[in-house]
Amino acid sequence: MLVIVATVFPFFWMVAASLKTRADVLAFPPVWIFTPTLDHYREALSRVDVARSLFNSLIIGTASTFLALLVGTPAAYALARWEWRGKREVWFWIISNRFMSPVVLALPFFLLARALGVLDNPWTLVAIYLTFNVPLVVWIVMDQFRAVPRELDEAAVVDGATPFIAFFRVVLPLATPGVVVSAILCFIFSWNELLYALVLTRAAARTAPVAATAFMSGYDLPWGEIMATGTMIVLPVIVFALLVSRHLVRGLTLGAIK
C-alpha cells in the first residue's frame, strides 16, 4: 500500500494541481478537497506554442520511430539469421550508440545543423533521435526474430521466395509483438527527450518538454497551466508504458533514457 501511495502520489499531486483554481494551488496549507476545473487545460491549449509543441512531439516521435523500424528491423534480421566473423562487434557497435551521452553529441549536432541551416527543423530531431531508437529496435527485434524458427523462412525460400519476401511475408509478421514493443519504447524515448530539443529548436520545431521548460522563468508562475501542460505531456507516455509494462524493464536496461 505504502509503495503504491509513494509511487503514485507526486503524479497525482500534479494532476490535482492542474485541476485546481489558482487560489487553491497557491493555498497553504495545501487544499485536499476542491471543485475541479478544466480552465487551465483550456488556457494551456489556447497558447499556440503548447498546442504546437505537443503536435511537434507527436510528429517527431512518430517519424523517428517509423524510420528506426525501417532500417532497424532488416538489420536485426541480418544479425539473427547470418553468422559471420565480427558479428558480435557489429552488434555491440550498434547497441553502444545508445550509451552515448546527449551532452557529448549535442554540441557537434548543433554545429552541424547550423552549418547545414537545419536548426529549428523537426526533421533534424527525427534524424538525431535515430541514434537511440535504431539500437533499441535492433536489440529487441533481434531477440524476437531468434524466436522464429529458421525452418519457416528457409521453407519460403525453397518455395521460390527471395530472402526479402521471406522476411516481409513470413518472419516480420510472426515477430509483430516485439516490433510493437520496440516501436512504443522508441516513441516514449523520443517524446521524453529534452537536451537535443532544447539546443536544436527555437520556436517552429519546439517539442513538448522544451515548452514545459519555457514556463519556468519569471516570478509569477502560472502553476495551473504548467501542471496542465505537464499532465498532457506525461499522459500519453504513461498509457503507452502501461501497454508495454511487461517489456519496459528490458527496454530500459538497454540504456535509459535518455
Partner: protein, 290 residues
C-alpha cells in the same frame, strides 16, 4: 544460409544511418575539442590549439566541482535507490496479495514513464517555498518555512529526492524480474537447510540479483553523468552552482558561454569517465559472481 551480399543489404541501412548520426558527430566532437572554437569570437579562426582546451578544463575548479558533485549525487542516490528497490522487490515477491501486487507493479511504471522534464516540474511544485507540500510537512513537524530550492545545501537533496522517486521503481522492477528467475528447487533445498530468511537471501537469491544489479549500476552511473532534464527544469543548476552536475555545466559552457571547444573537451572527458566506471563495475561485480 543466404549469401553475405544479401546479408549486407539487410544490414547496410542501419549501419549507414548510425555512421551518419552516431560516429560522425562523435569524431566531430573530438576534433572540435582540439580547436579554439568560440562562436562569439570567430576572429580566433577555429585553429588547433595543442590541447589548450583540455588543459583549461583540468585547471578549471568549476569543472572539478561539477564532477565532484556528480559523484556525490551518485553516492547519495544509488544506495538509497538500491535498498528501497530491493525492499520493494522482496516485499512484492514474498507476499501473495494477488490483486494489490499487480496494482503495485502498475504503479511502479508511472514514475519511470514520467517525462524527466515533467518530474522537474513536479519537483518545483512540491518543493516550492510558499505553498509546496514539503514545506507543509516541515510545518506539521513544527518547523519554520524552508526555501528548499534556494538553499545550496537543500537544493541538491531535493533534486536527489525526485531522482529517487523516478528511479527506485526501476531497481525494484529489475530485482523483481531477477527474483522470479531463482529456481524453485534451490529455494526449497535452502529452506530445508536453514530457516533464517537472511541466509536464504544471501546464499540463494543474491547471486541471481547480481547480473541485473550490475546492469542497473552501470546505467544509473551513466545516467548521472548525463543527468540534465530534471536539474535544468528544477533548478537550472542553481542556486549558485549547488546543483550543477557535469552535464549541466557542460551545457552551460557550450550554449550560454558558447566556448564549444572547451565544452567538447569536457564532453569527451565525461564520456571517458563513464566508460571507465562501467568497466570498473563489471570487473568488481562479475568477480564476486565467480
Amino acid at each position: 544460409m543466404w549469401s553475405p551480399r544479401t546479408r549486407n543489404f539487410f544490414l547496410a541501412p542501419a549501419v549507414i544511418v548510425l555512421l551518419g548520426v552516431g560516429i560522425f558527430p562523435l569524431l566531430f566532437a573530438v576534433d572540435v575539442s582540439l580547436r579554439d572554437y568560440q562562436i562569439t569570437k570567430p576572429a580566433l579562426g577555429f585553429g588547433w590549439n595543442n590541447f589548450a582546451n583540455y588543459l583549461q578544463v583540468f585547471s578549471d575548479p568549476y569543472f572539478w566541482g561539477s564532477l565532484g558533485r556528480t559523484f556525490f549525487f551518485l553516492i547519495l542516490t544509488l544506495p538509497v535507490q538500491f535498498l528501497l528497490g530491493l525492499c520493494i522487490a522482496l516485499l512484492l515477491y514474498r507476499k501473495d496479495w494477488g490483486f494489490l501486487r499487480s496494482v503495485a507493479r502498475v504503479a511502479l511504471v508511472i514514475p519511470l514513464a514520467t517525462t524527466p522534464a515533467v518530474v522537474g516540474l513536479i519537483g518545483r511544485l512540491i518543493f516550492d517555498s510558499d505553498f509546496g507540500l514539503a514545506n507543509w510537512i516541515v510545518y506539521l513537524l513544527g518547523g519554520a518555512k524552508v526555501t528548499f530550492l534556494g538553499d545550496p545545501n537543500l537544493a541538491l537533496l531535493a533534486v536527489a529526492f525526485m531522482d529517487t522517486w523516478q528511479w527506485t521503481p526501476f531497481f525494484a522492477l529489475v530485482f523483481l524480474a531477477s527474483l522470479t528467475s531463482v529456481p524453485h528447487e534451490a529455494v526449497e533445498a535452502a529452506t530445508l537447510e536453514t530457516d533464517r530468511r537472511w541466509d536464504l537471501f544471501r546464499f540463494v537469491e543474491w547471486p541471481y540479483l547480481l547480473p541485473g544489479l550490475t546492469a542497473v549500476l552501470i546505467l544509473r552511473t551513466a545516467d548521472a553523468m548525463k543527468l540534465f532534464d530534471l536539474i535544468f527544469v528544477m533548478t537550472r543548476g542553481g542556486p549558485g552552482s549547488a546543483t550543477e552536475l557535469i552535464s549541466v555545466y557542460t551545457q552551460r559552457v557550450g550554449f550560454r558561454v558558447f566556448d564549444l571547444g572547451v565544452a567538447s573537451a569536457m564532453a569527451v572527458l565525461s564520456l571517458v569517465v563513464t566508460i571507465v566506471l562501467a568497466r570498473l563495475y563489471i570487473r568488481v561485480f562479475y568477480r564476486e559472481t565467480e
